[in-house]
Amino acid sequence: MRFTDIQKKATAEWQAWTGSGKPRILIGTATCGKAAGADAVVAAIKDELSRRNIEASVTGVGCIGLCYAEPIVDIQKPGGSRVSYGNVTAKIAPQLIEDCLIKNDARADLALGYLGDRPVNGIPKFFDTSVLKPQVRLVLRNCGFIDPENLNHYIANGGYSGLAKALSLKPDEIIAEMKKSGLRGRGGAGFPTWQKWDFCRKAPGDQKYIICNADEGDPGAFMNRSLLEGDPHSVLEGMVIGAYVMGASKGYIYCRAEYPLALERLALAIKQMRESGFLGDNIMGSDFSFDLIVKEGAGAFVCGEETALMQSIEGKRGMPRPRPPFPAVSGLWGKPTNINNVESWANAALILQKGGEWYARYGSATSKGTKTFSLVGKVERTGLIEVPFGIKLREVIYDVGGGILNGKNFKAVQTGGPSGGCLPATFLDQPVDYESLTAAGSIMGSGGMIVMDEDTCMVDLARYFLNFTQAESCGKCVPCRVGTRQMLAILERITRGKGKPEDIDQMQRLANTIKNGSLCGLGQTAPNPVLTTLRYFRNEYEAHVNEKRCPALACKELIQFYILPDKCQGCMICARNCPVDAIRGGKRLVHVIDQPKCVKCGTCLDVCPEKFAAVVKVSGEKVEVPPEPIPVKAGK
């Protein structure tokens, strides 16, 4: 079949779906939705529909990005706009169906916004809400809108037109288009994609490989997973285009085994591609043949590093190797290999669909296009976001993210995962692009963005990341294997109040050794969380070391809980809830915490009635309390 005929058929199917005379119900059933209970919601909705004999189409779709509001259910009545509802539980779902489809009540109280041309009373326009307004959804354009298991939905929305166009061009012309787009590697290093492709294309060799790095392993990052779950074909189309440019006959997708849904969707998408002539011999009737293999990772973070990833594909232990030779010259099985991140491949397909110039309209001078982030931590609205480069951190955190959770104060934002750094409030008005983040001591990374509030101890945070990297170090090179372990030991010491004055200098020295001496990116960037926190929050380190005090009141061994004698009413709630029976007292007796016995769980603070506020958490301060329970003062 000719591609235009394929497109026609796909468009017809798409129109039949979107414009059917039946109500349409779309449910976010990506991993984030499922984790929030989407499967039960689907079942509840289907039950309700059948109970009431309502004929409606129910479709699971990918993540639309508002993870904080999952499960999300969208309802579109024939001829009407689609309305998106958040936090729909299995319990309220039947009522929602009844209200929307029978009682004609749009339930503005549960609505997140409407999508479409026709306004719905009392409900804001979805893309005008503050969470979405600053966003530009290019890569994520289909997520939440198409059935990710339906190839025709992808084609009807421009899918594979990029490949069709690519096959009509010479590889040089495609590289020129990529150059025009200004696309840079979305794995974090930001190397110009066209150049990377060009190296591999020009490398001598009959057998070449391309790889999609879907070993997303940064704590708190889920951009790639969401994209693979919500729109797998967009990534695969980019890969076929890249393979054509570079003359690769085989491609690998190295995807975490911990992403079962993404793997399932990839397998299905690849099968569909083969059946429709987008993969295999003579792709789309051309002379070009290419095939894809999905390789599941085995849970090692370091396998996200390109050379380790290739070792892993080869069936060896995932350990990085020195470069040069670079993969473009000698990669997988010693053959020229190009490896790109999930998002880079998806962007490539889009660039071929819409043109490099069109793409370059988005973003900043040096960083073109958009970037997806997983916005997590202490923000009101966590989720999967896509913003144009150049946007300010403040817009991301306060507009998209809705500000800091529970009205607390912003302290820092961590970008780039364990390889990145923590930036304080002074950087809130800095633009988000490769250069600015690097200048600040952090990195773009693949898109993890963790927001910290005033309760976060930066020393403890650095310890957390170091613990992660030292455990995930492959063990091959000395600076990473031993250096991170030594550094972690110091951080652990400091957070336990055992820090020595020379520790900070020693850590600085270790950080430099690890950074300059390590073999691969994992080691070279491992000290970044320490280096940036030392740079921007040195006072916290000094407080821990010199005063044995944790200013954020987070490090357990440096904090104490006390019951203020003039506030305690002897209600016994704290004593009853203490898990280790560390609180002595009695009715109308001022309670006393047995400090050596206390495990610093904070339960007493949480349960003390707000009107008394008798429990305090302190660090480095002495609070006068009686040694034994004494009667509560009269008159209270």
Binding site: C474, G475, K476, Q486, Q506
Partner: protein
């Protein structure tokens, strides 16, 4: 000094190291360039045999125009590159990294077994680190002692990975690997199993590669210093590995591979590494002559023994005497022995155990090519595009050549294994043809036919370099693939695939051993292989050829020296009057032009009373020969039997006089390995007691018999005579061998040796094709003896076990023999794994343990011949090849019963 195999040389470029300009080939690393410039760059994880690793970070440098601190071991040089190795910034970074290394390593140098021999100490000296300011993060781990030969103390391990990489990259064994990760990383076996369970081959390459005391030979631990180190040639198999023996207080304390020397390039197998000192210094070594008195062997003086031997032998001159020389002895000793037989005893009845292994090769390849030896060199195998391993269990019998096969596979070569047994190489093979034992001619001719039919033959080579092709082609008519499939049990598709793979992937090398030769039609097997190589043009080119892997350390040399009944040294025919005249002039006396009896024929002649006196030097036919019971009975009929050996063997026990000989470690001389490389054997220690070198014993007997021409003072003098009378050895002298071996033909002092034979013409002029017919093995299984027995070697023992069974560790790993039997056959016979069984043939029976394994094919059982108490050769068939008189060791009909 020898010609290089690769024809293209990389360009030479100039780089600057710390301001010193140095010219290097463009394919080397910065580290190589620095070493060439004489600049020391510290390394820990670097090893010349291994791919760059970049783990220890000690060799970091700064390169102009390159950011960061690249590791010099992994970074290739580029033209005009400017490298700094010791800027203050580098030295500080290096010191900080090294401090991290030490923080993971115990600081107990003075009590460490590796003290003063440790590479960590060398680097510490360079860096000048005086204190470690970081706390110790070392691991408290027990010393692992499960290997019989070495200890693993991972407390001392710095995770440089040299052992792991050696085991994986070079040895292809992968018994050890990195386990866990991060700071918990450790070297170990899968799931912590024992090394033996992890399929460790105990080659000790990991131990030799370890820079610290983490891996150490137990024997080397107490030896803080040695008196001397002697480079010599391994006495086990035909590979001829170069050993470095460490000697202290007159004893060999341990053995290692000599670094950077052909043919083994720093590699050994378990026998060369761990099987040397114990047998050399074994208390059972013969130290005084023994004379049979009243039926008992009793010690005597040399004078008495020599007088007796001289007097008795004088009574058996001519063809009533036979001399069995030894493929374990040096060239010089074999030369002296055959000279003794011919000059003093006046007979050509001289032979040795080559008769039992490669007689068919010598006969077959001499007819096809004109020279019966490996056409190419060991080091070329790894560069082949296709390797065919037929009738050879290379990794067991020639372990270091097995490494070359694995290297070829790693480089992407096609590997075709043709073997009825599932050998270890099958795992690496692209194609494994499991043919029926004895069907080789049919299978190889079938391949030849497929090659011809597919148009894959190199007809230019055939036309220009070969003859008799048409006759060969006509004989292919018998070998249509249906017939071949029926005879060999290999499917037509596989035959065609193998043919295509071999013909289309040149250069292709064929390796074979006893599976081909030890057959009643062994010569035909060899001719079939030669046909196959010639028709594809795979002769005379690098990494191609027909490569018989010789079994014994000096079986090639013993043949070269004329320890054969039909030729003098250098394969000069005894029947040729002109040659006889040459030797008569050189040696004096009258030479017989009547070819003598082969070793296998001698047994018959003894049995018939035609040979009455026998001299055996260093061989053990009672265990090694087919139908061994018959051999022992024959020997008992001898009127006079003198045996010369290092131990009292199953054979020498039967002798009238036993003369104590020196082992390889106690004498000078040369061995010629399987690739025709003549290599020095150097004396490391004194012989035990009164033991003497074989050559000096034979010379003494000759002198006492009044012969002249046996007054050699040194082995070198013998070699000089060999050179004068042997054209192919004409250019070989001890002087030239000092720096490494020389491959014959080496006719002149200036000749560099010949790694590749038949380059422009075959030795015989044109390569000759031979038409062949298929003949089945002599003994087919029947209802009485329904199973086929085939025999072979194990990695852990050698031949009749005379040497290896004196080594406790080898006995621990493999204490005794087994018969390998397929589960289906075992089940039918009700035999469980490990059960004692009786194996019976028409010639005898032995008791041994059953090993139930799918490595054996249904209907086929396998035994090694190392173990005298369950001697496989009691069962084997002495049916002979009509041309070369080799017995059919590889196919005997047997039955198995519960014991």
């Amino acid at each position: 000094m020898t010609e290089t195999v690769s024809e293209q040389k990389p360009a030479v470029i100039s780089v600057s190291i710390d301001g010193k300009s140095v010219e290097v080939p463009e394919d080397v690393t910065i580290l190589d360039a620095a070493r060439k410039a004489g600049v020391y760059v510290p390394t820990l994880c670097h090893h010349p045999a291994l791919a760059p690793y970049g783990g220890c970070r000690m060799c970091i440098v700064q390169v102009e125009g390159m950011r960061g601190f690249p590791t010099s071991c992994s970074t290739p040089v580029t033209s005009k590159m400017a490298v700094k190795t010791n800027t203050p910034e580098l030295q500080e970074l290096r010191r900080n990294i090294f401090e991290l290394v030490l923080s993971e390593h115990p600081w107990q140098c003075t009590s460490c077994v590796k003290n003063m021999r440790c590479e960590l100490q060398q680097v510490a000296t360079y860096i000048g680190l005086d204190k470690v300011s970081l706390p110790s993060v070392g691991k408290d781990l027990p010393v692992l002692t499960d290997s019989p030969f070495f200890d693993r103390d991972y407390k001392l391990c710095i995770l440089c990975g040299r052992c792991v990489r050696m085991c994986q990259e070079v040895r292809g064994a992968a018994a050890i690997a990195f386990t866990y990760r991060g700071g918990d990383s450790l070297v170990g076996t899968a799931f912590g199993q024992t090394l033996q369970d992890a399929d460790c081959q105990f080659c000790g390459a990991c131990v030799d590669a370890c820079p610290t005391g983490a891996l150490m030979d137990r024997a080397a631990k107490p030896v803080r210093s040695v008196d001397r180190r002697v480079i010599t040639t391994c006495p086990y198999c035909g590979v001829g590995c170069q050993l470095l023996l460490s000697v202290k207080d007159g004893r060999i304390v341990y053995s290692e591979a000599a670094a950077g020397m052909a043919p083994n390039n720093g590699q050994l197998c378990v026998k060369g590494k761990y099987g040397i000192p114990e047998f050399v210094h074994h208390p059972e070594r013969l130290t005084r002559p023994l004379i049979r008195k009243d039926g008992k062997l009793v010690e005597s003086s040399w004078d008495e023994a020599l007088s007796l031997v001289a007097a008795r032998l004088s009574q058996y001159k001519g063809d009533q005497f036979g001399f069995v020389t030894s493929a374990k002895c040096t060239n010089e000793e074999n030369y002296v022995a055959q000279k003794f037989a011919r000059v003093v005893m006046g007979t050509n009845n001289v032979d040795h155990c080559a008769r039992l292994c490669h007689a068919s090769t010598v006969a077959g390849l001499a007819q096809s090519f004109g020279s019966g030896a490996m056409t190419n060199s060991i080091s070329e195998i790894g560069d082949a595009s296709c390797v065919v391993v037929i009738g050879s269990n290379t990794t067991e019998a020639h372990p270091v050549i097995g490494l070359e096969v694995k290297r070829a596979v790693r480089r992407g070569a096609k590997l075709i294994v043709i073997n009825p047994l599932e050998i270890a190489l099958c795992r690496s093979a692209d194609l494994w043809l499991r043919h029926k034992p004895g069907s080789d001619v049919a299978l190889v001719m079938g391949m030849a036919r497929a090659i011809l039919e597919q148009g894959l033959a190199d007809m230019d080579f055939v036309a220009q370099r070969c003859e008799n092709f048409e006759a060969f082609k006509e004989s292919l008519a018998d070998f249509d693939l249906d017939t071949v499939e029926k005879v060999s049990g290999v499917s037509k598709e596989h035959i065609v695939e193998a043919a295509r793979m071999y013909a289309a992937n040149g250069p292709a090398s064929i390796l074979y051993t006893m599976g081909i030769t030890q057959s009643s039609h062994g010569t035909d097997n060899v001719l079939a292989i030669a046909n196959l190589a010639m028709m594809t043009g795979n002769v005379g080119k690098p990494s191609s050829g027909v490569n018989p892997l010789r079994g014994q350390n000096n079986v090639q040399g013993a043949c070269d020296m004329g320890a054969l009944p039909n030729v003098y040294s250098g394969y000069q025919s005894v029947a040729d009057p002109a040659i006889a005249a040459k030797f008569e002039t050189a040696w004096g006396g009258k030479m017989s032009t009547k070819p003598g009896l082969t070793m296998t024929e001698m047994v018959g002649a003894i049995d018939r009373g035609e040979i009455k006196a026998l001299y055996i030097m260093g061989e053990n036919p009672v265990v090694a020969d087919a139908d061994a019971t018959h051999v022992a009975k024959a020997l008992e009929k001898l009127e006079f039997f003198v045996a010369q050996d290092i131990f009292l063997t199953e054979t020498s026990r039967l002798a009238h006089v036993v003369l104590p000989a020196a082992s390889f470690a106690e004498k000078d001389g040369t061995f010629t390995n399987t690739e025709r490389r003549v290599q020095r054997v150097r004396k490391a220690v004194e012989p035990p007691g009164e033991a003497r070198t074989d050559w000096s014993i034979v010379c003494s007997v000759a002198s006492r018999m009044g012969a002249s021409g046996f007054d050699f003072l040194t082995a070198e003098e013998i070699m000089n005579e060999i050179g004068e009378l042997t054209p192919s050895y004409g250019g070989i002298s001890y002087n030239r061998l000092e720096s490494g071996g020389l491959q014959w033909p080496c006719p002149m002092k200036e000749h560099p040796g010949t790694p590749i034979l038949h380059r422009t013409a075959f030795t015989r002029g044109k390569g000759k094709f031979f038409p062949l017919k298929y003949r089945p093995p002599m003994e087919a299984p029947d209802k009485d003896y329904p199973l086929v027995l085939t025999t072979g070697r194990s990695l852990f023992h050698y031949h009749t076990g005379t040497m290896t069974r004196k080594v406790a560790g080898l006995n621990q790993i493999e204490p005794g023999g087994t018969v390998e039997i397929h589960p289906a056959d075992a089940e039918a016979l009700g035999i469980a794994n490990g059960e004692m069984v009786k194996v019976k043939s028409r010639r005898g029976e032995v008791r041994t343990k059953a090993k139930v394994t799918e490595a054996a094919a249904p209907g086929l059982v396998f035994m090694t011949f190392h173990f005298a108490e369950s001697s496989a050769n009691v069962l084997t068939n002495a049916a002979l090849d009509p041309v070369c008189k080799i017995p059919e060791f590889k196919v005997s009909a047997v039955k198995i019963e519960k014991a």
